[in-house]
Symmetry: C2
Subunit: 224 residues, 2 copies
DNA sequence: AATGCCACTTACAATCATTGTAAGGTTTCC
DNA sequence: GGAAACCTTACAATGATTGTAAGTGGCATT
């Protein structure tokens, strides 16, 4: 079942949206506090986010802009303002669809379903800026270049991408890649890191993986 | 560069659309005859199709419906009729976006670009009904089940999917999979066909590959 | 500047998945 | 019943992937 996360501050409208989606058979949830929405949304692992523009604190646009480069779900923006400029802004920030309130439930449902169907096949794809990684096959795409990673390289990059732009310690890498925190030879990590860097270089990501002496590794991809 | 195929019978409007997209840096082309549009569109290998509803012969809706199950490109429907029913029909048939004429060029361009960006990552994915195959990695998805095929199995399925629902002769399979028309051992094909069928069965496609005695093989997937 | 630690790289060998071969079984049709 | 076409299973060769080993390079602290 698809999970839809609704971000809307007006109590009445929020409940209505949740109800609409639930009645249509979706798992619809809506945060009620807007303190740290972004973290909360990510934690809910949505298949689709429906985003209102007027929110307390960060606007929907800002939220969209900051989530987009790392999100693996589509974003549908819903707003009361109905100008071409708004629509262009939304789409320019990476929103996947743009609807104006009031919106007929059937239209909303149809648009939502379309996004869900299209993105279903991308659920397993991690994205950081222009870099994307299929976590099933470890197919890597950067700009227009493609390369298949081996399993070990893939697992390492997967963790680095999930953690980006934070540093990942070796203590986190060992369990994620080899399933054990036990002291495996430090060298094996370095060898595979070396191989991964070579693979990344071949698609044009020369020195995307940086080492922080004594701390671990970071992935740094230019967020366009 | 992205290639956009425009299907519109009104000469003036068609030229305008082509011009709009070309000015924006796309490779825009538009068939002028509507005899066998569908074949023509496929031959053009579009990254996006912009489809008018009112066409001589088959309507845009019919065209959308018949192309969709096997298309690996998004479809944007453009129409002068502006009712919710039209939009729902279009989306229900698998259209990826729906805009009404007259439409501001900037809106059209923004929507088109959004579709292109989303679908860029799916360019290498073949689809037949609910079955999809990544032709880079041979990742197979049917309904909600996933499986990775080996290279040989993948190449066979790729050809079967490209040809579906037509029969594929052995004379077509050998060059596509082994690069040689030479009569290699017949057995090797049967062995791999057997392996592929087993893989398909594991995702729930029990007997999707049928043998036509003396002719070849067909892939038959229920088109929902 | 010397020392020790951490990080990087290359070559090699063991391992594992994939592929083709071989052989025997099953279905279909006359 | 028998031949032709098709299917299945087991096994061995191949090739990619992975970890081991060993040696080099660079940074930081004394």
């Amino acid at each position: 079942m698809f999970r839809i996360v609704i971000v809307e501050d007006d109590d009445y409208l929020r409940e209505e949206l949740v109800h609409t989606f639930q009645k249509a058979g979706y798992d619809a949830v809506a945060p009620v506090s807007f303190e740290s929405v972004e973290t909360e949304i990510a934690a809910l692992r949505p298949d689709l986010v429906v985003l209102d523009v007027n929110l307390p604190g960060k606007s929907g646009y800002e939220l969209c802009k900051s989530m987009r480069p790392r999100s693996s779900f589509p974003i549908l923006i819903l707003t009361a303002r109905d100008t071409l400029a708004d629509e262009l802004t939304a789409l320019g920030l990476g929103a996947d669809d743009f609807l104006t309130k009031p919106c007929h439930p059937d239209r909303l449902l149809a648009r939502a379903e379309r996004l869900l169907q299209t993105w279903k096949r991308l659920r397993c794809v991690l994205t950081v800026g222009e870099l994307s990684l299929d976590t099933d096959t470890y197919k890597l795409i950067y700009k227009d270049r493609m390369r298949l990673l081996t399993e070990t390289e893939g697992k390492i990059l997967e963790l680095l991408m999930k953690s980006s732009p934070d540093v990942v310690g070796k203590d986190a890498l060992f369990p994620a890649v080899w399933g054990t925190a036990e002291f495996v030879d430090e060298n094996i990590l370095q060898v595979n890191m070396s191989r991964l860097r070579k693979s990344l270089a071949e698609v044009g990501l020369g020195d995307a993986i940086q080492n922080i002496r004594g701390k671990g590794y970071v992935l740094e991809v230019d967020r366009l």
